[in-house]
Symmetry: C2
Subunit: 715 residues, 2 copies
């Protein structure tokens, strides 16, 4: 790990951020009388918000600060202190935090910059701060952060100028962000959209508290329903996964923006933060595995957060579309279909009834009621009722644009729709309107989500449906369990045969092959297996055996096998004269299958990750591979298989049989069990090709290689 | 074609919509004194807007309408009339239009519904209307449309209630939409964003005027700079392409939304409109080929239209990113990179200078100046100056969020930035701000584009860069020319050999092969070609020869070829006893190449389209194929090749040689020339595989089949 001074990961611990986020009493080190300065703003915000618990300003140069009695040092503070805000020059921060620990202060929020984000001197300073954390147990948010807040109690431990425009409206959203500037931006946008941010946590340099703990706090906090997170990269992978699991178990959606998707973005992220990058594809896997929604824009993040405030997470994917413009109906159908929602047709009988009611309507789905329906608003609600009742849609999105915005229409339409809202409380009903904010609010107050753009409405609905599926599936299905020492892995390089033997012991189906060490044995093996056979050099020292002609395909007879043995050994002697050759593998030619690739990589943040893709050069050309963190069960493996773009190949194209996806899922789960058990012993596993045979016929690893790690990795 | 009553396509004609869009005098049939009715609204809008040309209300039941003298019939109108609005019951529309034609009225806008969008009776009515158009030459917009407007002269020939909120602000955007409801929605959104819509054209059922003519009008109109178009499908493919070319030649961007991308969306579109669907992938090809931007949401459409009002279309892709939040810098870099923009690093020397100026900045690109730079605003402008001067960026996007929104900062920042705006008028400078509308407007008035969301800013910039490239490349490069009768194509089914002979004559490189008709000749051919060879049955009657064992690979000797001949004929006799076999093809085994697929399909709207994709089952599994309308030149073919997802395969993966893409481009262009020349004679061409050999070694069609059409297609 790149930061040896950092305390141990918190993943295993239950989060205990109460002193930070719900403190009984607080101190402000470097408190200022000037309400525009870093040491003055938090106090001003808290006084304005009526924070009702003891506040102790600390400043040796003043008797009072903003009307409160001021103390010369933290030691002088009379009562106990849960949290101290530190607004001091970097040079004196470490001793100040040390003094806090000595006083028994439980936590600190360090605003000061001049730490690891600057230079070697700053990094050394941060290391000393981390050492204080480790030694005393005091918790530190920051340094170099914009702080935190808990709007519920008026605790604004932040100098972010985004609070100048006032506190957030009431609500149950938690924002957890590594970046203070970005956290402020998102908070400002959220407030502009009238979204109530309850907790706001920016972690800055993360010398101690990481965003994972913030997410875990929010997952367990009773006054949080929606979690929005932002990271450029995390260090505590296990902690992050644990916090996402807590949120999922609590039925709270996590909307996560992790930047650095592209190569250039990742480079920019690396230069911007000291955090370990990890692979972006692995983050993607983590979010999928733990049911978090990965937002790729701030707009999408807030759209989904807004949609989550409805608290309805559809279990199914059936979406009913209503429109007064046929063209927008088509657009919505396109968007819904792109996002995997099911634009199921209305039942024929219901279509007929609808057509009776609205002769000019297109009744299938999208249901085009045209603007004419607004001449009698009960037609609008009766249409929606029919769709909810007969169509069985989990979600309805209705595009009414400015037609429903007229003040004359709002009352009547709300009267007509409100009854439906009460009768179907578990169905999501989303309106797409172009209307002034006061009209939008009236629809929202009546229990409808309102979006201006129908496409953004559909995207948000798809995210809610994703949460619905994730919440419904319950705890992760059990992975195969292998004891950490169940399988011995040598320290040195492994041959193909040794690799396969180990993987077979871990439950991966492997081609039945014989390791022989003479021409005579080769002939016998070919005879027993039945030609044609494959013959391969088996050597720890020859990595790319194909390149030196170390593989013979279609060996047609025992006699050819005898000859083949000599040929292979001669080739090894010529091309790799120093290599130890531990015999030759003889195996049946396996055909009739889809070539896939399975693998294990060791991610520096999340540990062993299992990779899956289709074989051939296309995985490489298209990057069409998916990952999951090991270990995982077969259900997760099935979801993984379903995520590759080329999955149609496994379904059987051009009349080919469907591939045995159950066997594939079992193999992936088995490999993940092995990867987890051997996490500290292996650098990588490459199973290529892994042949998935027609349904019912299983699958086999045809070639495989385990690369042990040079020295044991500490986790 | 499905609508034989429709007049001929207008593609070849110069558009002549002046009587419709710039009429000297107008009449309103069915004029109403009630300004809320369909026959009353247009008059009200025009009177309010001060339309200064003669207006003749026509209504047998009234002496005056909204204060104007009213006429009993169109024949009674004293002066000449360029355009008559028709707000009459469907039953009397045809005779009314006929009466208009008799009076010499040049054009009509028919609001009335009750035509092809309803039932068979309506369709018959529309056919009669089309017949009047054909016979008299009068032009018709509609029926079943919301009308048109020319805001420049206050001509509001529409009853859309979106005009209730007043006319649009001045500007140079044309909106051309098949759907009136959607056109109204887009217009309302555009006005809310202060975008000036000059022309608004909704074509409804398109019994005569199609959107292509509207686009062509806008392309040639001096008071239009940006064109926004919406369609569910067009009938006049050639007309659409011609209009897009006119726009491109005039340097006017076309932002096009064509709905029905997905299967379910296409089905919804088909049920919503009588227009021929055509294939959505072909529309995609048309937009790429003619440089139009395909919008996939209304929001994107309006974002790009707004960005186009700056009138700056960057020739290059270099984008400089400025941010006060490192995290947003990474997000912008991700988004820019996804969209093919070049987030090029600042030159080292410039980075050093920047670092001197702003010691806390990250100077590479994205340039993170942090909010601290706002303490001295000249730092912000000097940073931008350095980026424009030394970084050579075509575009700068600066994320200042709410920091630049403070009223105190705006004056000073504008003073600092304004000078830059004047010195670099050809560079695009986009600000990402969270600010109230009046502050946004001040930045816009100073020549900056303003977006709230940085991701949407980047997406719009990418669209502008696409237009810049399209405008810069000038007229389409010349396609290969083949006279329409240069190549004779029989009416009947063709064998592989006949197909290849025809394609070779058209300039497609084809594998050198021999058609032999005896075992002896097979042996001789194998001898001359040099084994191993491939042998294939050559028969018009056997389509899938692989399935009956009609292909022998790796035939290793003349003797084997002799035997092979007998084997193939025996198989043909057994599997396809009635089939005529016209000999056997003997060809060399071609290796060392990337398997690709070339094809030609006949699109009902756009005619012959050339398809390209990589071979194997992946093209099928992933749908990774691209199209272009034939004919086209090699430059277009190169762009086409660059569009497939798997293009890395052609660049040489895993140390394989780069494929001969020049030969591939030549072949695609040649095939397009053939497809265009033989457009009326062929149903499809399938060249599979087309083997693209290593660079410098060309490419060859290994198998090919031309399917002639049953009877000659009329275009």
């Amino acid at each position: 790990m790149s930061d040896p001074d950092r305390p141990r990961p918190q993943g295993a611990r239950a989060p205990d951020l109460r002193p930070l986020l719900d403190p009984g009493a607080i101190a402000i080190l470097g408190a200022s009388d000037d309400p525009t300065r870093i040491g003055g703003r938090p106090l001003r915000y808290m006084l304005e918000a009526g924070f009702a618990r003891p506040i102790y300003p600390v400043n040796p140069n003043r008797a009072t600060v903003q009307g409160l009695k001021c103390y010369a040092t933290i030691a002088d503070v009379p009562g106990p202190v849960d949290c101290a805000l530190v607004a001091l020059p970097a040079e004196i921060v470490v001793e100040a935090v040390e003094a806090c620990a000595a006083k028994g202060v439980k936590s600190t929020v360090v605003f000061s910059s001049g730490f690891a984000e600057t230079d070697a001197e700053g990094a050394a300073r941060q290391a000393r701060l981390a050492e204080v954390v480790r030694r005393t147990g005091i918790r530190v948010v920051g340094p170099n952060c914009l702080g935190i807040f808990n709007a519920g109690i008026g605790f604004y431990a932040t100098f972010s100028s985004s609070l100048d425009a006032g506190p957030p409206p009431p609500g149950n959203i938690a924002i957890v962000s590594q970046s203070g500037a970005y956290g402020s931006h998102v908070f400002a946008l959220a407030r502009a959209k009238r979204l109530g941010v309850r907790y706001w946590i920016t972690t800055g340099n993360e010398c101690d508290v990481e965003i994972a703990e913030g997410i875990a706090w929010a997952a367990l906090a009773e006054d949080v329903e929606v979690i929005v997170a932002y990271a450029e990269g995390v260090r505590d992978g296990a902690g992050l996964r644990h916090s996402l699991d807590l949120a999922r178990a609590a039925g709270k959606p996590v909307i996560f923006m992790k930047v650095g998707r592209s190569e250039i973005g990742a480079a920019a992220a690396a230069s911007h933060t000291a955090a370990l990058a990890g692979s972006d594809a692995i983050y993607d896997a983590v979010f999928r595995q733990h049911g978090a929604y990965r937002a790729d824009s701030t707009e999408a993040m807030l759209d989904v957060a807004y949609a989550c405030t409805a608290g309805i997470y559809p279990k199914g994917r059936r979406i009913g579309l209503v429109t007064i413009s046929g063209g927008v109906g088509v657009q919505m159908a396109d968007a819904a279909s792109d996002l995997g929602l099911d634009v199921a047709a209305m039942p024929e009988a219901a279509q007929a009834r609808l057509k009776e009611m609205l002769p000019y309507a297109a009744p299938r789905n999208p249901v085009d009621i045209t603007a004419q329906a607004f001449n009698d608003l009960t037609l609008v609600s009766r249409n929606l009722e029919l769709m909810l009742e007969e169509g069985g849609y989990d979600v309805i999105v209705a595009f009414f644009t400015m037609v429903a915005a007229s003040p004359y229409i709002v009352d009547d339409l709300l009267a007509a729709l409100g009854e439906l809202r009460r009768r179907y409380p578990e169905r999501l009903i989303v309106l797409s309107l172009v209307a002034p904010p006061d009209i939008v609010q009236r629809y929202e107050d009546a229990g409808f989500l309102v979006f201006e753009d129908p496409g953004r409405a559909i995207a948000a609905v798809a995210a809610l449906a994703g949460f619905g599926r994730s919440f419904a599936r319950g705890p992760a299905d059990p992975p195969p369990t292998l004891a950490a020492d169940a399988i011995a892995i040598p320290d040195e390089r492994l041959s193909e045969h040794e690799s396969k033997t180990i993987l077979a012991a871990a439950g991966l189906p492997v081609v039945e092959e014989r390791l022989i060490r003479s021409a005579e044995a080769a002939a016998e093996a070919a005879e027993k297996i039945g030609p044609p056979v494959v013959m391969k050099l088996n050597s720890r020292d020859i990595g790319h055996k194909t390149e030196i002609g170390g593989v013979l395909l279609n060996v047609a007879s025992p006699e050819a096998a005898r000859q083949g043995y000599e040929t292979l050994l001669a080739r090894a002697a010529e091309a790799a004269p120093g290599a130890l050759v531990d015999g030759v593998l003889v195996a049946p030619m396996v055909r009739d299958g889809v070539e896939t690739i399975l693998g294990v990589q060791h991610d520096p943040v999340f540990g062993p990750a299992v990779m899956f893709g289709l074989g051939g050069i296309f995985a490489e050309a298209l990057g069409d591979v998916v990952f999951r963190i090991a270990p995982f069960g077969e259900d997760e493996a099935r979801r993984m298989i379903g995520e590759i773009q080329g999955r149609a190949v496994l379904e059987g194209l051009r009349g080919r049989p469907r591939a045995d996806q159950e066997a594939l899922a079992k193999a992936l789960a088995a490999l993940s069990g092995f990867a987890a058990a051997a996490a500290n012993r292996i650098e990588s596993v490459d199973v290529n090709p892994f042949l998935v045979r027609p349904e019912g016929e299983g699958a086999v690893a045809v070639d495989a290689l385990i690369v042990p790690c040079k020295k044991e990795l500490s986790s």
